[in-house]
Amino acid sequence: MKADPAGVLTGVHYLDGDFACGEGAMAAGCRFVAGYPITPSTEVVERISRRFPRIGGVFIQMEDELASMAAVVGAAWTGTKSMTVTSGPGFSLMMENIGLAAMMEAPCVVVNVQRGGPSTGLPTMVGQADMMQARWGSHGDYELIALSPQSPQEAFNLTIDAFNLSELYRVPVMFMMDECVGHMTEKVIIPPAEEIEVVPRPLTAAAPEEFQPYRVNGRDVPEFARAGDGYRFHTTGLTHDERGYPVMSAECQEKCVRRLVYKIRGNAEQIVRFEEDAVAGADVVVVSYGITARVARLGVQLARAKGVKVGVLRLVVVWPFPERRIRELARQVKAFVVPEINYGQIVLEVERCAAGQATAISVPHGGGSVHDPQEICQTILRAAK
């Protein structure tokens, strides 16, 4: 369906990534946000708390990030598109209820404007070291979706996509910004509402007495009923059957976990998204995401000037990972170069998918600034030899 015009601030704006993300959420139909202040993400909720009272949304500043994430999962059950916003330390606290959202299949969006870590780390400076946490942070087996924007415009666009994906697959979607994109101000074009496609939450057509909250009818995700519509359903963080009732057995666990995993793993080809540049015939492909993708472009230009055939693969959706594409490229290239503002996270995934057919070379960075493009260039030159 088309976006609700109430939330769409159509026009050409000059916004930072945090504000653009907030506008994207409102355009996507988000009407409930719970959050706790944390640099460098707070501008997202500041924007929303100013605009929400004028568009029928509710923002509440909770007592901590545990509460924020719990409130977001609660709100998801009224059919209200809901979101929370944080940075590394808060992201750690949210893991508990991100797991609940995954288990209950409550659609929602979690924005992490990454800063340097571990622990309190570098509150006002950039990091990209929560990428594995986004994928594996909560205990148990589940899969989810993570996106990473490289510009304020993309922060707007991809926030809408994050909501759409959360509705399609009924998962918490991790929106993995970084401090640079969050605080970078650029032109952001917000199109008219009728040009923005949003995925509505389909309500079950079943009668209340027939409805089962986790019945899938051969599909990947179950039917949805809103709390308060007379369905009187039950949902739990415990392993459950199609009725949503707890069942403590290996058999039920297998069925429950397998579906949670396969609704993403099995649809990965539809979900993965990346951009490529000059990968055909390349000897080296640089894999990057977020702000580092923009920095890497400069390093690639420097290497090309020295005659190296370098391609670029920018991850837009980071999880699920584009395994098939990396496997294909591994048969062609000598090496992948993976700059990221951490000490080697996504490079491990590249290495796994390359499976020994090409080397995966990390360009690590502890955080606090972006890479020096020269360093990326030097690594490319070494990799091409």
Partner: protein
């Protein structure tokens, strides 16, 4: 003992055995409120939680609230199972987070009557921070806290409510940590309604639930409940029946008592009654009133029916679940769009998935 037993268990005279032939199957009065397909429940014999559920269900029936608009949210623990047994929208959430989960439910659909039903360890141990802040905000929640002085489900560990000197599995020589006075905690944080009863006081408890269901804001009802399996056994207090007898002998009803005076000592007097009943603006009322004052006509409150934005043209094919065989051109390569900046994108809704054992598309047609 036997005299007391007769007083407690029968309405008068000696109880007599009933011949099986005289028993006609009939529905329990609260069966319509219970997921009977989940019975029997997991609670131990003589546990107090069932009594609290009975009183709550009775109160729901007698107040005549629209059950379709009632949601029950629980955390983890013995009392945490209540949400799963009531035939209402029931949410069994994470440990300690029932109150913030319920806050999200309430704020995103304000017409819901949201009850938080959980235990002492859940709500004021791991969830203590959420408890005080919800009370401070006068969040529109009815919070029923079943206090059995101990962590039951995990095997009898010390709780923030365990009375001084009482033995628990992690305080085997007796508790030396001062416990919370929960009524005082709730009242001093701003709860608009505070009451305490024991499981023995079924009529008063039912009345308190009815009273609270008809009020607004943060309403806190503490129910002292027997845990014979752990609390009574570890402290050699007999059975659940003996604890009920203790309540009978030691519960003092003193409405309006200053909550600073209602601490609970080990095997000491339990002051019961309604301590606080003050109407003050709830979170939603305060938000609406303030925003209207400041923003005037520009203020758009969350509709009572919530922030759900319905699809004007619902796609029947998606009503049975979201991801489905789609028509878009899938595949990672075609998804790569270097011109994506500047164009808000709509996503393709997925397509048959041969790898998914649960996908329709993965099955032979």
């Amino acid at each position: 003992m036997s005299t007391r037993k007769a007083e407690l268990c029968t309405t008068g005279g000696e109880s007599t055995a009933v011949e099986p032939a005289d028993v006609t199957p009939e529905q329990h009065p609260i069966a319509p409120y219970i997921r009977m397909d989940r019975m029997p429940h997991i609670w131990c014999p003589t546990c107090g939680i069932g009594t609290v559920v009975k009183c709550y269900a009775t109160a729901l029936g007698e107040t005549g609230v629209d059950l379709n608009k009632v949601a029950v949210v629980s955390g983890i623990g013995c009392t945490g199972r209540v949400a799963g047994y009531m035939k209402l929208d029931g949410f069994h959430t994470t440990h300690g987070r029932a109150i913030p989960f319920a806050t999200g439910l309430k704020l995103s659909r304000p017409e819901l009557l949201v009850t938080v039903f959980s235990g002492d360890g859940d709500l004021v141990g791991i969830g203590g921070n959420h408890f005080i802040h919800a009370a401070r905000r006068n969040m529109d929640l009815l919070v029923i806290l079943v206090n059995n002085f101990i962590y039951g489900m995990t095997g009898g560990q010390n709780a923030p409510t365990t009375p001084l000197t009482a033995k628990t599995s992690t305080m085997p020589y007796g508790n030396f940590e001062r416990p919370f006075n929960l009524a005082h905690l709730a009242a001093s944080c701003g709860a608009s309604y505070v009451a305490r009863w024991t499981c023995l006081h079924v009529r008063q408890l039912t009345w308190a639930f009815k009273d609270a269901l008809q009020r607004k804001g943060f309403r806190f009802i503490e129910v002292i409940a027997p845990c014979s399996t752990l609390y009574a056994r570890l402290n050699k207090l007999g059975t659940g029946f003996n604890l009920m007898q203790f309540y009978h002998d030691n519960a003092e009803v003193r409405h309006g008592t200053d909550t600073s005076e209602v601490d609970i000592g080990f095997q000491d007097e339990i002051v019961c009654g309604k301590f606080v009943d003050e109407a003050r603006p709830t979170f939603v009322e305060a938000m609406d009133e303030h925003n209207r004052k400041i923003l005037g006509d520009k203020y758009v409150p969350m509709p009572p029916s919530g922030g759900f934005i319905p699809d004007p043209n619902p796609d029947p094919a998606r009503q049975g679940g979201a991801a489905r065989p789609g028509t878009c051109v899938p595949g990672s390569d075609s998804d790569a769009n270097p011109n994506r900046d500047g164009v808000a994108s709509g996503l393709c809704p997925g397509r048959p998935n041969p790898n998914n054992p649960d996908s329709a598309a993965g099955r032979p047609s």
